[in-house]
Structure formats: structure tokens, C-alpha cells
């Protein structure tokens, strides 16, 4: 290609502008244009890639999150503990990380207040070095009965850091049976009978002790 341009240029440089020289020059430009376009596109991708590629593609994350359990069956009001392991799979250190526990109900209309489910839903980590991993414990209270899923996400204040998310931990929470009605009702019904008996005795005692009224 350079030779073609140069050849055309030599023809021009020789002072003689010939039709054949112009044709050769134009042909060289026509061959050059796609190459330039390709180079330009490549340059643009190179400049913009850190912004667009990380925002849109989790698979670009340099941190992986593994969760220690896949599922759990609990009773309501039961505590559960599990771990997550964060690992920096990238070649550079991560920025400071924010690791957050999320809980979602799988049934529509069932309310989940994360504050009630876990005392510590967010943990803050310093930068992870390449290849470094850290284990984070989590504690969770199964507050309501039903089907739930919990997972951990990793984000950073640095905009270029792609969020990472763990696999989900599925929870099936059964209703708790601390106070079954069949046990409560007998106690609730029987205990008041004792003070009632005492009251009846007191009334009977008072009437027994009372005299008839005299004429005034």
C-alpha cells in the first residue's frame, strides 16, 4: 500500500500530473480507508471499554463470591449462619469493597424488612490483592414463614469496579410452634377458675357473717 502511495506520489513529485498517477493515488486511498476505519473503531473501543464493558457485563468482574450454602430449611424465629468467600481473580488490587446481604421473598405480597432479619447487613473490606480471598460470616434470623432467597453483592465506591454477586441461598421457613393453641387454651381457661373460686368463697363468707337488719 505504501508503495502504491509512494508510486503515485513519485509520479506527482516528478512534476507531471498524469491521469494514470491520479488513478493510482485514488486507488491507494480506496484501499487505505477501510484500514483507517478499523483502526479508528479499535481506538474508540480501547478508550471507552473501561466504562461500557464493566457496567454492562458481570462476567467482567474481577471478584468472585462463593456462598457456603445452597439452601436451608428453618423454623420461624430460628437463627442461621453461613459464610461467603470473596476472591480477587484479577491482576490488580480491588478498590475498597462494600459487601451487602440482600433478602427477598419469593411470594408476592410477603413483606421483608431486612433490618429485622439480620443485625449486620453490610460489611466493609479494604482492597483485596490479586489472588487474595477473605471469608465473611453472616447471621440471619428467619423472621417470617415462607419461601425466601438471600444473596450477597459486592460493590465499590469506585465507578469502574464491576459489581459481583453470589449464587442465591434458598430458604424455606416453616411456621414456628412455640405456643400451639391446643396447649395454650387449657391453661388460659383453667387458671382463672382459681381466683374465681376464691372470689366465690369471699362472697359466701361475707354473707354468712352478715346479720339481718334491725328495724330502725
Amino acid at each position: 500500500m505504501n508503495a502504491g502511495i509512494c508510486a503515485g506520489a513519485r509520479h506527482l513529485h516528478a512534476g507531471a500530473v498524469t491521469a494514470r498517477g491520479v488513478e493510482r493515488c485514488l486507488a491507494a486511498r480506496r484501499r487505505l480507508l477501510p484500514v483507517c476505519l478499523i483502526l479508528l473503531i479499535g481506538l474508540l473501543l480501547f478508550v471507552l471499554a473501561p466504562v461500557t464493558g464493566a457496567r454492562n457485563s458481570p462476567t467482567d468482574a474481577t471478584v468472585s463470591v462463593q456462598i457456603s450454602k445452597e439452601s436451608a430449611a428453618l423454623a420461624a424465629a430460628e437463627w442461621m449462619e453461613f459464610d461467603t468467600v470473596l476472591r480477587n481473580n484479577g491482576a490488580t488490587a480491588t478498590p475498597p469493597l462494600v459487601v451487602h446481604l440482600a433478602i427477598a421473598a419469593l411470594e408476592k405480597g410477603r413483606y421483608v424488612d431486612p433490618e429485622d432479619w439480620s443485625p449486620q447487613r453490610t460489611q466493609y473490606l479494604p482492597p483485596l490483592q490479586p489472588g487474595e480471598s477473605v471469608r465473611l460470616p453472616w447471621r440471619l434470623l428467619a423472621l417470617n414463614e415462607g419461601a425466601f432467597v438471600t444473596f450477597v453483592t459486592v460493590v465499590s465506591a469506585e465507578e469502574s469496579f464491576p459489581p459481583a454477586v453470589s449464587a442465591s441461598l434458598r430458604l424455606q421457613v416453616a411456621p414456628d410452634d412455640i405456643l400451639p393453641l391446643k396447649d395454650v387454651i387449657p391453661v388460659a381457661a383453667v387458671v382463672p377458675l382459681f381466683p374465681l373460686a376464691l372470689l366465690v368463697f369471699a362472697v359466701a363468707h361475707t354473707r354468712r357473717m352478715a346479720a339481718t337488719r334491725t328495724d330502725r
Binding site: E145, P175, L179, V184, A188, A189, V191, P195, L199
Partner: protein, 263 residues
Amino acid sequence: MNEEEYRQSGWQVVLTSELRRLWLGRWGPLLLLVFSIFLSVYIVILAADPEMNVLSQRMIINQTIQVTELVGIVAVLLLGADSFSGERDRGSLESLLLTPVPRGQLVIGKLLALLSLWLGMIPIAIPYIALVARGTDVAMASLVLLVIGGTLLVGLSAAVGVLVSGLSPTNLMSFAFAVGVMLLLVAPTQLPAGVRDSPIVDWLVVSNPITAVDRYQSAVIDGGAWTNGVWLLLSPLIALALAFGLGPRFLNNRLSLHGGFRP
């Protein structure tokens, strides 16, 4: 009889009469009946409402103890507030003041009679607390806490009621003052969580007998050792000792026909 025998027998005579009035005069059994019905309704609601049933069992135990103590405190406080000012309003106090029994012994007799109401409430509360605490390792501890903590607080409440009643010119004023004092003591429990964490409020909570007992009970039920935080019982113990020790002496010179603070 000489004065020495009066010291031995005056408060006993008042106590016997007050016990008869309370237990054979229907007020005591009626209050126990209302108390047991209240606990029954409370526990049935707890069992039937799924939203409430998901509280941890220890939270339920703690709450049941607190509710029991609160009812005891209120009942004894109101009866105590009627003890002297009620007689003042009904015109029967003069007969009592005309006897040779020292005023302080009148106070002691009425105080101890009020405590009998709490002694009657404990066996009523036992089945309920045993029910909510079954299956845990704090069942016995719950009952012991109810007896210890409840007696401290109810005793204090009785003393406040009787003291205010002895000084108030009318029954209405007595009730108002007694309820006001107890509200002041209960107020720190209602502060927002963030405020409660401040050192000053923490000190207030610890020095307030009601909140101190509450905190101690919660700590033991949540699995703490008995000795862990037992110092929290200092403020209710001191308050009770002062109330029972100094209260009768204080009223000895001040219990009068028309009420008032001056000897």
C-alpha cells in the same frame, strides 16, 4: 399495754385488718381474677397471631414477665394510693389517728398488706410463664426472675403509693401524684434507640429501678449468667430499702388528718 407492746402489735393489728378487708372483702380475689383473665387473653393472642408468634421464645418469655410485673406494679400502686387518702376522703382516718398506734406502724401494716396482693399474683402467673418458657433452659430462671424482680418493683410501687397517699389531702391528688411518679420511672424505656445509647441515658436507665430490673432480666433470659449484670439490681434494692426503711419514719411525723408535707 405498754408502749413496747404497741410497737410489736400495732402494725400486726393493721395488717390483719387490711388482709381481711382485701381478701375477704372481695377486692383481692377480684383483682386476681381480672389479672388471670388478662394473662389468658394475652397468651391466647400471642399464640393465635402468626405475626406475634414469630418473636423468639426468649423475647416472649421476657415480655410475659414484664407484663406480669407491670400489672402488679399498677394494681399495688393504685391500691396504695388509696390507703390513707381514701380513708381521709371517707372520714375514717381520724378514728385511726386517735389510736395510740404510732403512725409509722400504721404505714407498715398497710404496706405489707399490699404486698400480699403480689404474693397472690405470683402463683397465678406461674402457669403462664411455665407455658411460654417450656423447652428452654431458662424456664426455672424465668420464675425466679419474676419473683425477685417483681417483688423488688412491686414493693417499691407499694411504698410510692402509700407515701403519696399519706401526704395527699385528697384521693384524687394521691392517684395523680402516684401515677405521675411511676410514669417518670417508666419514661426512659420509651426513648428512641439512638438516644438510649448515650452515656447519660444509659446512666439514667441503670439508676432507674424499673429499667434496671428490666435490663437485668433480659440479660439473664437471653442466656447470660446470673452474676452477669447483677449489679443492675443495686438501684432497685437501694430504692426499696430506702422506701421501706425511711418511708414509715418519714410518715410517722407527717401522717395527719388533712395531709400535707410539713410535720
